[in-house]
């Protein structure tokens, strides 16, 4: 891959991946670090051998793996884990968010969703991935994705209703 091809690929995919990382980590600084690490992993894997359609799904798979590694590293350091967990929880409660622009109602709903539900809903609704594409990203079979996503939708619909977020308010 030459520099120009990489620049184009980055310009196309980095903004959405960055938002996904911020959503998963709730910390823009760590998200930018992991964004770098994800693209480095993709470059190491020789992206020229992948088709354009595969590349986006591969990028999110790499990001999921980078996030998992990040949490594993955090877990090795008990202090860091406590601080990070505290920050995440606090940010999601909407008290003092690491993500300053996150609206309070959005933060409250997301805080009550499980990590897997959050991940699935983002990949399906924001990125528009198919079940077949989501499977390898989250590490489950495509058929399981259908079931998991259905349950995530139900939980999300319940939460939106509990918080009084109708179609107009949700948008």
């Amino acid at each position: 891959v030459d520099a120009e091809t990489f620049r184009r690929f980055y310009a196309d995919s980095a903004p959405s991946l960055r938002a996904y990382l911020r959503y998963r980590l709730n910390d823009p600084v760590i998200a930018d670090d992991l964004l770098q690490e994800t693209f480095l992993r993709v470059l190491r894997a020789d992206p020229a051998s992948l088709h354009q359609a595969q590349l986006r799904s591969y990028l999110f798979r790499a990001a999921t793996s980078v996030i998992a590694d990040h949490f594993r590293c955090e877990a090795r350091s008990p202090d860091a884990l406590a601080v990070a967990a505290g920050q995440r929880a606090e940010a999601l409660r909407g008290a003092t968010g690491c993500e300053p622009e996150l609206p309070l109602d959005v933060a409250r709903v997301l805080a009550q969703l499980g990590e897997r539900d959050r991940e699935l809903l983002w990949l399906a609704y924001v990125e528009g991935f198919s079940h077949r594409e989501i499977g390898p990203i989250v590490g489950v079979e495509a058929n399981s994705v259908r079931v998991l996503l259905l349950r995530a939708r139900e939980r999300m619909a319940q939460l939106l209703s509990d918080h009084g977020l109708g179609p107009e308010e949700a948008a």
Binding site: A3, F6, R7, Y10, A11, A14, P15, S16, L17, R18, A19, Y20, R22, Y23, P28, D32, L35, Q36, F39, L40, L43, R44, E99, E101, L102, P103, V106, V109, L110, L121, W122, Y125, V126, R153, M156, A157, L160, L165, G166, P167, A170, A171
Partner: protein, 114 residues
């Protein structure tokens, strides 16, 4: 899907897109130059390490070949030098050992450098 299901679905989609906007989807990402440079540096280091491994392997093979050559040469030449007495034998052995070492340590790196 029922009408209610469709409404829920569009409601979730609207909420998720709102969250996506809040998390900066659509905003420009940082300059990729640093990533490209890091990748280039990693590639360079990997090439260097490969070259070092090849060099170490060739050095080991050369040392093995020289040892065998010394043993063979000693077997062939030593009887000739032995006729010159103890000093002659020692000089012969020294020559057999020194010539490949001079090649290995001195001449070969020079030719590699060229």
């Amino acid at each position: 899907m029922t009408e209610t299901g469709l409404t829920e679905d569009s409601q979730i989609a609207a909420f998720m897109h709102r969250a996506a906007r809040a998390y900066g989807r659509g905003e420009a990402a940082p300059d990729p130059a640093v990533i490209w440079l890091k990748a280039a540096l990693e590639r360079h280091r990997a090439r260097e390490q490969r070259a070092l491994r090849v060099q170490a392997l060739s050095f080991a093979f050369a040392a093995l070949a020289i040892t065998v050559a010394i043993l063979v040469a000693y077997r062939l030449v030593a009887p000739v030098f032995a006729t010159l007495g103890d000093v002659g034998l020692l000089a012969g052995i020294a020559m057999i050992v020194a010539l490949p070492l001079i090649w290995l340590v001195g001449i070969r790196p020079l030719s590699d450098a060229r």
